[in-house]
Amino acid sequence: MNSIHEVREEARKLLEEKRVGMVIGYGKGKGKKNYPIFITDPQKVEELHFESDCFYNLAVYLRKPEVCSHGKLAIVVKGCDARSVRGLFSENQLKSEEVVMLELKCDAKGIGRDKCTTCRVKNPLTPEEKNPIDGEIAKILAMPMEERFRFFAEEFKRCIRCYACRQICPHCFCKTCIVEKSEPQWISSTPSPLGNWSWNFTRAFHLIGRCVECGECARACPVGIRLDILNRYLAKSVEEKYQFIAGMDEKAAPPLTTYKQNDNQDFIR
């Protein structure tokens, strides 16, 4: 779809014809800030709004019980959100027949966030050129090993275990997270340098081949840990090694649940 007008029109039709019970989209507040809105009344579709600073990844709401209870859903998606929705399809978290995607092109300019500079899905349906190494990743790679370790250890040390990263992430959909598992408790749940390291490491590992680089985790982090760099780096590796881009093709097997007999094993003796 090309404009918000078309989206509104489509949303109205969907609601009027009762093909969906709710439309999730962006609204505009008084302070000119964008925020998610949830529309059930076809009269209110005019509240739908879109501009370049609509950074929320709305896909996260698709699995919230208070939203799900409305039956079939329609959702306004930018490129990165669309990848999330498809990722959720591929991991059996949503059924494609129960979600209508209202795709909008995003110029990714006004947002001005780091995630947008490397964005490849400004147009939700047509991925663009390869993800270039961004400045931040290059900066990390230029550090010697110990410095890298210290950099991340210092970042992680600040973690207060509020789990905002987990809450905001559409792909952290485990009902009970590994960190909340006891017997055994693999990861200490209280804030501590060691436990924080393991937690953030594990979360990054769990997002391999699944993260869509929407960057919401870093935005949500109250202490400003650069989780996005970690996830972007892994997404890049997955693409280089397995030619896999998360959320592009809902039929493609996630990279860690499949293999090739001739996969690289240079690192194995």
């Binding site: 059996n92 485990c174 009902k175 009970t176 598992k181 055994p184 693999w186 097997a253 860690l256």
Partner: protein, 673 residues
């Protein structure tokens, strides 16, 4: 609080020479929860086991660690002993302080330290061992054999004679397989059909065998003891129950120049046909691709001449379902066609034939009634060149393996040829003669010494046709590597011992059944030495050349072995197996089904969790304990830690890891003392 007993073995001097076992016992005695820690010269001896057994009873142990040799040696021994003493056997663990410690280290202090660490880790692990019970699965004592060649026939008869029902599925219109087409068999030169046909008849008459000929396996679901099999009975266009097998339809059918599969293309058959006179069942089938009625819409002569009115043009494929407890795959082999060898003119020169074609030429029931004649002009071949390793051991042709049977049948061919064409010249080009088997090498020697076959060591580079004095001859350009010279032989016929490969469709069948196969599509055995007729999938057994190139005696031995494996399975109503299977906590599972994707055994299925009014709340993974082999792949992929592996739980491993780090200062001091 746990009550753990630790029993440390000296293994004579084997452990005690480098590990101070007394110190190990002393160190373990100080570990919380360890109520007894003793060492003994030979723990595995009767008195040694008795020490443990009595301690289990007297100290009311709920966990045991035996520190001794590799668990592969004695885990079973001690678990049995523990069970005898009333302890669940899975509450006992072995700490390997011999193979992994005393035998590989010289420094006594270091070795003792390591032995303490290993034992300590095992103690920590055993705290969390669960009381497990072997799993039982009900067994349907009914077997399916796929493939009606000699291997399938043997397996079916053995199982049926053991008193169990057998469903035999054969793809072609008759059972018998390749063996039915062979002339005489090595190393005794008895007639193939004479020994095979009685067995075929036995199959047909056996009350316990249900034969589906001209049928294929459509799908297989379920697991060991409980397979659901769908079989496609292909439309024969003949009602087999009313057909008497009189053969008049075949006699009158006007469509007569169809290359006969049974005759390897050297003979002809009709459009309605019985593949060979001794076929079982002896009922014809209409080849719809060639039948005039099916291609042109008119003829129906067979219907007119059929007395019992058994022709059914309208017949369609039929799917039947069978409940099966075990499956024997005996789908056999085929050989590379002559056209695979352009350098030998295969396919271009009619007198360049394959070994199986030679069998038909030499067979008394063959297209020439056993007289050796050239396919091109019917002349008696005065010189025949046999090429072994045609395609076998030939990377360039994609086949790295030895086809195994060729050396023997080439020798047999050379002999048969000599017996049929007196004074004829037989040359055999070979790389190696591999005749290992009872009376096999003697057989080859006989071909060389008595029947004067000339064996030339070398491969042939090229065969080309040349007319000499009005007769088309084949010029064979080879090398005699023993002389280091080129050899050129002008021959009348060239016989290629072309490579053995699995039947077409072998891989597709394996995929349906869910059993692995190798890069050549031969079925993979569970273990190359110790489990040669079992597949890696429980309840699927292998027989004959579907697993690797095999001759008749080996195929028969295989089939009997597979049949006995089936009967072992069927000997009980329920099957018992290791309790090491995955289990899913459906509260934690959120249904991403990564586990399903990585499971090699299709043991994970989807279960709907419903509320009381029947609404689906969520879909979660469920493990079929009958199929699960306990690899644990599902657990490592599960982010929510919703599954776990009995016997190797996360908690056990977690504790074992911590156990290596909890070596206390007390233990350090024990070592120092």
């Amino acid at each position: 609080m746990a009550r753990i007993g630790v029993f440390i073995c000296w293994c004579g001097e084997n452990i005690s020479r480098t590990v101070d076992v007394v110190k190990v016992a002393e160190a373990m005695a100080g570990v919380p929860g360890v109520v007894t820690s003793v060492e003994y010269k030979y723990m595995c001896s009767d008195p040694g086991q008795k020490i443990m057994k009595e301690s289990i009873k007297n100290d009311a142990l709920d966990g045991v660690v035996v520190a001794l040799c590799s668990p592969l040696m004695h885990e079973k021994t001690f678990r049995t002993a523990a069970e005898e003493a009333g302890l669940n056997p899975f509450l006992l663990e072995v700490a390997n302080i011999r193979e992994h410690c005393s035998w590989v280290h010289e420094n006594k202090e270091e070795a003792t330290k390591k032995a303490i660490a290993i034992t300590r880790s095992t103690v920590e692990r055993v705290r969390y061992n669960l009381q497990l019970k072997n799993i039982t699965v009900p067994i349907t004592a009914r077997a399916m054999v796929v493939g009606g060649g000699i291997a399938g026939i043997q397996a079916a008869l053995d199982i049926a004679n053991g008193g169990h029902e057998v469903v035999l599925v054969e793809r072609t219109p008759s059972i018998g397989g390749h063996m039915a087409g062979l002339s005489e068999t090595f190393p005794t030169l008895d007639c193939s059909q004479c020994i095979l046909t009685p067995r075929m008849v036995e199959v047909a008459r056996h009350p316990k065998i249900k034969l589906y000929s001209y049928a294929e396996v459509e799908s297989v679901s379920g697991f060991v003891g409980n397979f659901e099999v769908k079989i496609r009975k292909k439309a024969r266009s003949v009602d087999t129950s009313s057909c008497t097998g009189c053969g008049i339809c075949q006699e009158k059918c006007p469509q007569k120049n169809i290359a006969s599969e049974f005759e390897e293309g050297l003979g002809k058959r009709k459009a309605i046909y019985v593949p060979f006179p001794q076929a079982v069942p002896n009922k014809p089938v209409i080849d719809r691709k060639h039948c005039l009625y099916f291609t042109k819409g008119k003829c129906k002569i067979c219907e007119k001449v059929c007395g019992p009115k058994a022709i059914r043009y309208e017949q369609e494929d039929e799917i039947v379902e069978e409940r099966i407890g075990a499956i024997v795959l005996a789908t056999g082999y085929e050989t590379l066609p002559a056209t695979f060898f352009p350098e030998y003119g295969g396919g271009r020169y009619p007198d360049v034939i394959t070994g199986l074609q030679f069998e038909r030429l030499a067979s008394a029931s063959g297209p020439t009634s056993g007289e050796l004649k050239r396919p091109s002009d019917g002349r008696r071949p005065e010189t025949v060149v046999f090429l072994s390793c045609a395609g076998s051991r030939d990377l360039a042709k994609g086949i790295s393996y030895c086809s195994k049977i060729c050396c023997m049948y080439v020798a047999k061919h050379a002999m048969l040829y000599q017996h049929k064409v007196h004074g004829g010249k037989a040359y055999v080009f070979y790389m190696d003669v591999r005749a290992s088997g009872k009376n096999y090498d003697e057989f080859v020697r006989r071909a060389i010494e008595q029947d004067k076959a000339i064996y030339v060591r070398g491969r042939v580079a090229r065969v080309y046709e040349k007319e000499i004095e009005g007769v088309k001859k084949l010029v064979v350009k080879g090398a005699d590597t023993l002389l280091g010279e080129q050899v050129e032989i002008v021959a009348d016929m060239v016989v290629l011992a072309s490579a053995v490969k699995p039947s077409v469709g072998a891989a597709a069948l394996a995929q349906k059944v869910g059993t692995p196969y190798d890069q050549h599509h031969f079925y993979s055995e569970a273990h190359p030495k110790l489990r040669p007729v079992e597949s890696n999938t429980a309840g699927i057994f292998l027989a004959g050349a579907a697993q690797a190139p095999k001759d008749i005696p080996e195929s028969v031995a295989d089939a009997s072995a597979a049949a006995s494996k089936v009967q072992i399975l069927f000997s009980r109503k329920e099957m018992e197996r290791d309790p090491y299977v995955s289990m899913v906590n459906s509260d934690r599972c959120f249904g991403c089904f990564s586990c399903e994707a990585v499971c090699p055994y299709r043991a994970i299925s989807r279960k709907e969790i419903k509320n009381r009014s029947g609404e689906v709340l969520k879909v979660v993974a469920e493990v079929n304990a009958g199929l699960c082999q306990g690899c644990g792949g599902c657990i490592a992929i599960c982010r929510a830690k919703a599954c776990d592996l009995a016997g190797y739980t996360d908690q056990q491993i977690f504790s074992a890891i911590r156990g290596f780090n909890t070596t206390s200062t007390y233990e350090e001091e024990v070592v120092k003392k």
